[in-house]
């Protein structure tokens, strides 16, 4: 029985306050301070933005983050290498498999002599692209809802439900999948997955046309998004923005093409780029990305290689149940992996992938033990959110929701 003791003498009245930017305007000023969030439906999480207004114009915007900080990076240091996979799910809760993938790739790079079979690599690509569809669908639905186009939300969540069912079929979980593990996949792909994914992906492109028809012929949507939220490309790059935001500003850069990982170099797809650099072109980039992801998934379903779905690395990958019961060696490895985990050679590795939101980079440092020495998560939302003042300042308050939504950040990804 363990007891929890709280040292009450160290808690003072200030503990309850979360000090941040000022909440009142300077005396004598005509400006107004508006506190947006942290509980605001359009911030999609717990983001607080303090706005200084002159009438309808935003003079200054100060984002205040940290409300969802859960100390995931610290906790990684207390878990074994394979256990950390379950924490990566919870970083960006709309692209769990992308986070699983980047962590697994980073640790596999650190291990060095581990070869991931082709089937596992293709499966990883397929699932990461399904995850991109899932994330973009949530973004499109909620973003349109914020701007006043309510119907799109229902259409998007209809397809998202299908994707979540596919995830459940593969991993047993709808969101926190932890399906991509160091050394391959967590479970054997379920029987009949080709039919389920194939049926979904054949119907999907026509669904994207549906969303496009709903929005492109909506004059309110166009007025509220076209020409809104412009920031020069140089500023976006200087502020650390990645992903669809910079591709909508004319920068053709996608980690999947420029630094291919898993087996993306074997797939045929395009990187959509637009030059207008406003909320509308960010919407067009994401919509086109959904079409391209559908192409990749279709290729993956049709050309999925046969063979193993886990690496042949008995010290890292858990043995099959049957072998464990019949072979002494498999039993020993199973015991070792479960009780103390596996050791990873000392060193460091930085792995990046293209998440739905931009560049995710995991920097993992090992000191040769069975637990990570340091896991740094370079999350796309944290980088992107820093550009928020540039998007809002000097613009109208009414445009702030459209600009904010077009960045597509997840607060779990910002605060970690």
């Amino acid at each position: 029985m363990r007891e929890l003791t709280i040292h009450t003498d160290s808690i003072s009245a200030t503990d309850a306050t979360h000090e941040g930017p000022p909440v009142t305007a300077p005396a004598g000023s005509r400006h107004m301070i508006l506190n947006m969030g942290p509980q605001h439906p359009s911030t999609h999480g717990v983001l607080r933005v303090v706005l200084e207004l002159d009438g309808e114009t935003i003079l200054k915007a100060v984002p205040d983050i940290g409300f969802l900080h859960t100390g995931i990076e610290k906790e990684c240091e207390a878990k074994t290498w394979q256990q950390v996979v379950t924490l990566t799910d919870r970083v960006d809760y709309l692209s769990n498999l992308s986070n699983n993938l980047v962590y697994a790739l980073a640790v596999e790079k650190l291990i060095g002599d581990i070869e991931i079979p082709a089937k596992a690599q293709w499966m990883r690509v397929m699932l990461a692209e399904l995850q991109r569809l899932n994330s973009h669908l949530v973004w499109l639905g909620t973003h349109a809802l914020d701007i006043g186009a309510m119907t799109v939300f229902f259409y998007c969540f209809r397809e998202r439900e299908d994707i979540l069912r596919i995830f459940e079929m593969f991993s047993g979980q709808r969101m926190m999948t932890s399906y991509i593990r160091i050394g391959g996949l967590a479970l054997e792909p379920p029987r009949g997955w080709q039919q389920v994914v194939g049926k979904f992906i054949n119907a999907f492109p026509s669904k994207v046309d549906e969303y496009e028809n709903l929005l492109n012929s909506n004059p309110i949507w166009k007025i509220r998004t076209q020409g809104v939220g412009y920031v020069p490309l140089e500023d976006l790059l200087d502020l650390g923005v990645t992903g669809p935001m910079i591709r909508a500003a004319g920068q053709k850069w996608d980690v999947r093409k420029d630094e291919p990982y898993s087996s993306y170099d074997q797939f045929d797809f395009e990187i959509p780029v637009y030059k207008e650099n406003d909320v509308f072109s960010r919407y067009r980039v994401r919509l086109e990305e959904m079409r391209q992801s559908a192409r990749i998934i279709k290729q993956a379903v049709e050309g999925m290689p046969e063979g193993a779905w886990q690496a042949d690395a008995p010290k890292i990958v858990l043995p099959e149940r049957e072998k464990m019961k019949t072979q002494m060696e498999a039993l020993i490895y199973h015991f070792k992996i479960v009780t103390e985990g596996f050791r990873v050679p000392a060193g460091e590795a930085y792995q990046t992938i293209e998440s739905p939101r931009g560049e995710i980079g995991y920097y993992v440092v090992s000191n040769g033990t069975s637990k990570p020495h340091r896991v740094f998560m370079r999350t796309p939302s944290f980088g992107n959110l820093q550009a928020l003042p540039a998007l809002l300042e000097g613009r109208l308050l009414a445009d702030s929701i459209a600009s904010l939504g077009s960045m597509d950040f997840v607060l779990g990804d910002v605060d970690r």
Binding site: R2, H7, G66, L237, G240, E348, V365
Partner: protein, 162 residues
């Protein structure tokens, strides 16, 4: 000094020629070029790499605590050049007795939040930073959670009979 393995690296050799002596060490393990640079010259190094070597992007900044080693902390910078499709990692050793380094916010504006994060979680101070306050933890928090001598469950609680 520049190690032999990085003599062929275009950006590393240019940096060594432009600012001799600033590179302390380096490696290219797992095909990831890494340079340890003199902390006093970090701003010059970053400015040179951004303006002369097209490293327009700073992907991130982080820290690593190597307790009980001395120097104790490492500050790590992840640089990326879009036009050359090149990545470079810079590292600086920081002593525990004086955990300070110059801020690179003047070179890349994105350094602002990353440096605040390192300050918040490791307690490393960045000189000339425009607003060096806590970013993830509450402003009245005591201690720096990612330091190795900081317990996982925090200082405020003690677990007995564990």
């Amino acid at each position: 000094m520049l190690p032999d393995i990085l003599k062929d690296h275009p950006a590393a050799s240019a940096l060594d020629a432009a600012l001799p002596g600033v590179i302390v060490n380096g490696h290219a393990e797992r095909h990831e070029p890494t340079l340890w640079v003199d902390p006093a010259g970090i701003v010059d190094v970053c400015r040179f790499l951004k303006e002369q070597q097209q490293f327009v992007r700073l992907s991130g900044i982080t820290g690593v605590d190597w307790l009980p080693a001395d120097p104790r902390f490492e500050v790590v910078y992840f640089l990326h050049s879009l036009t050359r499709n090149l990545r470079l990692r810079l590292k600086c050793w920081i002593h525990e007795s004086q955990p300070e380094i110059d801020s690179v916010t003047g070179v890349w504006r994105t350094a602002n939040w990353y440096e605040r994060e390192v300050f918040d979680l490791f307690g490393i101070r960045f000189r000339n930073h425009p607003d060096l306050t806590r970013i993830l933890m509450p402003s009245d928090w005591e201690g720096h959670p990612l330091r190795k001598d900081y317990p996982v469950h925090g200082h405020k609680y003690t677990y007995q009979n564990e």
